[in-house]
Subunit: 324 residues, 2 copies
Amino acid sequence: MQFNDVLELVRDDLERVSEAIRANFESDVALIPTIGNYLSNNGGKRLRPIMVLLSSRFAGYAGARAITYSCVVEFIHLASLLHDDVVDEAELRRGGPSANSNWGNEASVLVGDFLFAKSFALLAKENVPEVLTSLSQASCHMAEGEVLELVNHGNLQIAEEEYLDVVYRKTAALFESCCEIGAYLGQLDAGAAAALRAYGRNIGLAFQLVDDALDYVAHEDRLGKSIGKDLEEANVTLPLILLHAQASPQERAFLNGLMEAERVDKRDLATVIEYMERYHIIEEVLGRARAYADAACEALKPYNANGDSEPLMAVANYVIERQE
Amino acid sequence: MQFNDVLELVRDDLERVSEAIRANFESDVALIPTIGNYLSNNGGKRLRPIMVLLSSRFAGYAGARAITYSCVVEFIHLASLLHDDVVDEAELRRGGPSANSNWGNEASVLVGDFLFAKSFALLAKENVPEVLTSLSQASCHMAEGEVLELVNHGNLQIAEEEYLDVVYRKTAALFESCCEIGAYLGQLDAGAAAALRAYGRNIGLAFQLVDDALDYVAHEDRLGKSIGKDLEEANVTLPLILLHAQASPQERAFLNGLMEAERVDKRDLATVIEYMERYHIIEEVLGRARAYADAACEALKPYNANGDSEPLMAVANYVIERQE
C-alpha cells in the first residue's frame, strides 16, 4: 500500500475534517477566520488528522468523534505553528508568507491562543475525559519541548538523548496522542493500545528527524520554506549534533563561531553542508529516522493478521521518503 | 465589610492556592518554574482566585476543588498576561521588569502556552464538564477580545458599545466564569447562579474600566507600570473614546495625529490628560465603573438575608476604589 492509497482511503473523512476546521474557525472577529483559513488552505499535509483517522479505523471505530478529534489535533498543531513562527521570526511557511509576516506577531500570538482555547472548547463539548487528559498532557509536553529547544539554542554540546527528549516532547507526544485517541475510540485492549501509542511516538520521532535533515538538503521550491533555517537561528538539531561530535577541531571552531555569529550567510551554509557530506551526516540522520519508522511498524506487526496495519505502515514509509 | 476583611476571610485558602500554583509550575524544564515563580511572586492581587473562593463560599461550598480551580483561573490569567506583554511590548509589569524584558518574547510566548496547557491538564484531572466548558469558552472570549483590541488599535471612531464588548470578552468573561464555577460547586439553583454570573460579569467590566482610567491618572510608583501606556500604543480605551466624542475639532485633530504618530512623548500625554480634565472624562469613566459595580451588588441583594453577599460586595467596592 502506498501513501496515495492511504489518502484515497480517508479522502471522504478528510473532507469532513476540512469542513469541521472551517466551521470551527468561525468567529465574529473577522481576523480569526481570515488567518485560520489562510493557514488551513496553505497546503498542510493534515498528517495528524490522518493519524487520528487511521488509528480509529485500526481500532475498529468509524464514528463522528474521529472527525471532531481530527479537527482538534489540527487546531493544536496550527496554534503551535503560529507561535513557532513568531518565536523563530519565520518569514515563510509552506511556500507562502507566514501568518506573522502577513498580519504581524501580535495577531499570530492571539489567533494561536484562540485556536488553542477552541480546541479545549471542542473537547469540553465531546466530554471524553481520557481524550482530554491525553491532549492536555501532549500540549504541556509540546510547550515544554519548545522551551527546551529555545534554552538549547546554540548549544552544540547537547547530548543526543537530550535532543531526542526535546523531539519527543515538541513533536512525537502529539502524534502519540493522536494514536491514543484512536485506541480509546475503538476501545482497544491494553496491549494493542500500547502498540498503537508506540507506533505514534516512533512516527513522530521519525517525522521530526526527517524534518531536521530536510532543512539541510531540501530544495527551496519543494520544501516551501528556506533551507538552512535551523542553522541561521542556531537551532541545534540532530545533523549539527552529529556533525559537531565527528568534526575536526578546526571544523568545530567554525561551527562554534556560527552559533555566536550575528548572521549566517549562504556561504556559511554551503560550508556546513560540505562538512555534512564529508561525514555522511544526513544519511546517518535519515538512517535513525528509518529505524524509528521500522520500530513503529514493528509495534503493529502482531496486529496485522487481516492487513489492518497496512495503512499505518504506509504512513511510516511516507514519513521517511517524503521530500517536503 | 472592607476588602482587608475579605482578605482575612480567605487568607488560609489563598495560602493553599499559592501552594497549588507553585506545585503546578513544576517542570523539569527549569525556565518554566523560574518564569512562573517570578510572575506569581510579583505582587498580583489574586483577584480571580478570590472570586472563585468567595463565589464558592457564597454558594455554600468549602471543598478542595475551589483551590484547584483558583489555581487554574490564575494560570489562565498569567498566560494571558505573558502573551499581552509580548503583544504590547511592555517593559514593566507590576513595578518590575516584565517577563519578556527579562527572558525575551520567545520564552514569554512558550511559557504562556505551557500555563494554558497546564490549566487544561488540571481541568482534565478534575473532570467536571461544566467547569471545563465554562473556562474553555471564557478562554475563547479572551483571545477574541484581544484580537478585537488589536484590530481596533488607533480607531478613535469605535462605538462605545463595541468597546464594551471587547472589555466583556477580554476581561469580564473570565470573572464571570470564576463566579460560575462557584455557583456550580455549590449547586446553586438557576436564579442564584444567574445572579452570581451577573455579579462576576459586572465586576469584570468595572475592573477593566478602572484599569483604563488609572492608565491616565495613576502615579507610576503606585500603579507599578508606566502611565500613558494605552496612548503610547494607540490602544483606544473608554477615556479616549469619550474624549474624542466631546472634543473640539482642533483637539480631535491632535488626538488623530497621536494615533498615527511614531511615538508619543510625555508632553503629548500631558496634553491629552489636560483635555481629559477639561471634559471630566476620568470622572465619567469612573462613574460608569461605579454603575457596573452597583449592578454587581444589586444582582446579589436578594441573596443577602444572612449577610452572605457581604464579602462579594466588599470586592465590588475595592474594585472601584483601588488606586493600583
